[in-house]
Amino acid sequence: MNRSVSLNTLPEGSRARVTSLLSTGSMRRRLQDIGLIEGTNVQCLQKSPSGDPIAYLIRGAVIALRSEDSRNILVEGNYN
């Protein structure tokens, strides 16, 4: 049983599944609208040269998230 970790700790290339969203308000709604709901599969694609933001593959779209936002997304099942 994998523990939940923050999305921003996922290494490049790995995949995981969303377990919960800790963000609130419009950011929460924004993330849900682009498809980040519980159970969604996410893949970490590419870190920016400075380490932040990080590009993820979410339901077929490449979306860049800043660490301040992705640290509030909990995922599990860090696998390749």
Binding site: Q32, D33, I37, Q46, D52, G60, A64
Partner: protein
């Protein structure tokens, strides 16, 4: 986008949302879609030059309306701002939602990106919940073909219950069909039978309590809203929308005791199923997202599982730790070099051409026996300065802007924002400011209008104010001018004719 005479000055006074119909029986079509799906291309291809832009009343969001004729009927297209959802957490979303819900359009067209259909379906499903007189236009088919993605339009139409057409607006494919479907949807007596997303059982039960009564009430008052949609919004209870909804109803929601009683029962039903109000919002969104996933997986086929492989490899070069920033600096350097040196030859050509013309003008003035001061004012003054500005500034701009647009079309600019965001964040600005600053190199005014891509108001303000510190093409001119005028002597003061 752009400031037209009609959208500034006295014409910018809020006059409410006015749809300028050319004839009474013109049909109004709302054009919605995610950002960057080619909505504006569809809009431009259908309306041509018959359009005008301005602002939505009271908001700094661009509004564009255009018209076209089809089979003798007039249609007004209203280009809504690009949004991912109708949940109104930004002004753009609020504008789009308010127009679709309350704008009184005859039909809605939702433009989607064929290469990213699942994400686009979120907006489609939210829209058809409001109005089933909708047409889905799956655009960017040429992109999809390049990536070997196939969309089964019939299946999609079956799953959504509204007409679906495929298009590649850039090459004018599918637009005829789109106009045909729009006409069908507007003309038909019965709206298409849209297949709406279903929610979890407790929510459906709560809706069951409200919809029959609402159906009856809305029919009595002849209000064309879907009872199911009104019921959902009552349960969702978002204050802004509630206020606007109430404005558009001829009866008071709060005073309708029967309704309030049913609403209380519905909320009770949800509470028993352990669904407090914030959890309700989560479930409502999740159900739509999952329904979008189902619809998309049933109608989109990928011939290669790794269809984005080339894009990802390119991204590795453009945004990776070691090559990201160097490539960016190199590209920008190349653009500037091309702009500055490439502009030299045309500048000189223009400059000598205008000088020759000035000679001819002077001859004409002499032949016409014009007074010296007139020649001085018009030729040495107006004409000469105008031609200097044109010959110095036009060539660089004619090179810079197309190159910049090329970068934009290649999709490189978001990578720039991605690379630089962290650095900009240190100054509390946004990575997207890098793009507006690049535009500012061409023209500060263009850079500032471009700042609308920045969401946060504070970051946007910072981008607008600091854009001024980026030297625009006009400010490249003085060094150019000094170098240039070894050939054409600048205005000497003894050239000026003495006053009579």
């Amino acid at each position: 986008m752009g400031l037209t005479a009609g959208s500034t000055g006295a014409n910018a006074i809020d006059s409410g949302l006015v749809i300028k119909k050319e004839q009474e029986n013109d049909r109004v079509i709302a054009l919605a879609g995610n950002p960057n799906v080619g909505k504006s291309t569809v809009f431009n291809e259908l309306t041509g030059l018959n359009q005008h832009t301005g602002n939505w009343p009271g908001k700094t969001v661009t509004n564009a309306q255009g018209s076209y004729q089809y089979h003798g009927n007039g249609y007004i297209l209203v280009d809504l701002p690009g949004t991912y959802s109708l949940t109104a957490h930004s002004t753009e979303e609020e504008v789009a939602r308010d127009f679709i819900c309350f704008g009184g359009a005859d039909a809605a067209v939702i433009v989607c990106d064929a290469t990213c259909l699942e994400r686009n379906l979120n907006l489609v499903l939210q829209t058809i919940e409001i109005t089933s007189r909708a047409v889905v236009c799956v655009n960017l088919l040429d992109e999809a073909e390049r990536k070997n993605i196939r969309v089964d339009f019939q299946q999609l139409e079956k799953n959504l219950g509204v007409p679906v057409i495929g298009a590649s607006a850039r090459s004018r494919r599918g637009l005829e069909e789109l106009q045909e479907k729009i006409e069908e949807v507007c003309k038909s007596k019965e709206p298409p039978k849209a297949i709406l997303p279903r929610y979890t059982r407790p929510i459906e039960e709560a809706l069951e309590l409200l919809t029959p009564y609402l159906e009856q009430r809305l029919a009595e008052e002849k209000i064309p809203f879907h009872p199911r949609w009104v019921a959902l919004r009552l349960l969702d209870n978002e204050p802004g929308l509630m206020a606007t909804l109430q404005e558009n109803l001829s009866f008071s929601l709060a005073d309708d005791l029967e309704l309030q009683k049913l609403l209380e029962q519905a909320r009770q039903c949800l509470a028993e199923a352990d669904i407090p109000e914030d959890r309700l919002k989560d479930i409502l969104v999740s159900c739509i997202i999952l329904h979008a996933e189902y619809v998309s997986s049933d109608s989109v086929y990928y011939k290669k599982t790794d269809y984005n492989a080339t894009d990802r490899k390119i991204d590795k070069i453009l945004t990776s730790r070691w090559t990201g920033i160097p490539v960016m600096l190199l590209l920008l350097a190349v653009i500037f070099w091309l702009t500055i040196t490439g502009a030299n030859y045309p500048s000189q050509l223009l400059s000598s051409g205008f000088a020759w013309l000035e000679g001819k003008l002077t001859e004409f003035f002499i032949w016409a026996n014009a007074p010296g001061w007139l020649h001085g004012a018009l030729v040495l003054g107006v004409y000469r300065v105008l031609t200097w500005v044109i010959s110095v500034m036009l060539p660089p701009m004619a090179i810079f802007f197309p190159l910049f647009t090329l970068l934009e079309d290649l999709g490189y600019l978001p990578r720039v924002a991605f690379n630089l965001d962290k650095h900009f964040k240190k100054s509390n600005a946004c990575g997207k400011q890098a793009l507006t600053m690049c535009m500012g190199f061409g023209c500060n005014a263009a850079g500032i209008t471009g700042c609308r891509i920045i969401d946060s108001p504070r970051e946007r303000l910072i981008a607008i104010i600091t854009n001024n510190f980026v030297p625009c093409n006009g400010r490249f001119a003085p060094p150019q001018l000094l170098k240039q005028n070894s050939k054409t002597a600048p205005l000497q003061f003894d050239d000026l004719p003495s006053l009579p």
